[in-house]
Symmetry: C2
Subunit: 94 residues, 2 copies
């Protein structure tokens, strides 16, 4: 395979990744609404610890645990943003 | 669906995401080897611009373009690390 073949494969993976990341964001939004109803905090360190343990267990490389965690730290940071903004806009519209 | 149901869904999505992110890393490693053989640089701003255009086109939310881009900036940063380290270890072993 040449560079262009590998790049085509990356573009295919990105199609799936963008979908899955947004699917994950839908879940975060829904959890945000449920948290709001029960006055739970957006930031839950125990749950985040479980996520990091899960992905470490699922990781068979080539990414190192640190590299995968770097990606996930950003991902979870953005998910927390989505959850907060959604919760706030709900509050403003109510 | 309650919070636990949404979290189960997130855990399922993470199983797929960890696999796809690593599949993407495999591609980056392979491209790194091909680049090394043809003395191409690891950092290619034109290719990265194409990736950002692609994901913006694929994005139908709920993530905003800025939020998706934040995730991808970290992802690509880590992919560049994988490519550089691999290229370096090849060089050291030759």
């Amino acid at each position: 395979m040449d560079i262009e073949d590998w790049r085509k494969k990356i573009d295919e993976l990105d199609t799936q990744l963008v979908k899955l990341i947004n699917d994950r964001a839908i879940c975060a939004v829904e959890i945000g609404k449920l948290k709001q109803n029960s006055a739970m905090p957006v930031y839950e360190p125990d749950r985040e610890r479980i996520i990091f343990d899960n992905i470490a267990r699922l990781n068979h490389g080539p990414l190192s645990q640190i590299q995968l965690r770097q990606v996930y730290e950003r991902l979870i940071d953005v998910m927390r943003q989505v959850q907060s903004v959604d919760t706030e806009s709900d509050r403003n519209s109510s």
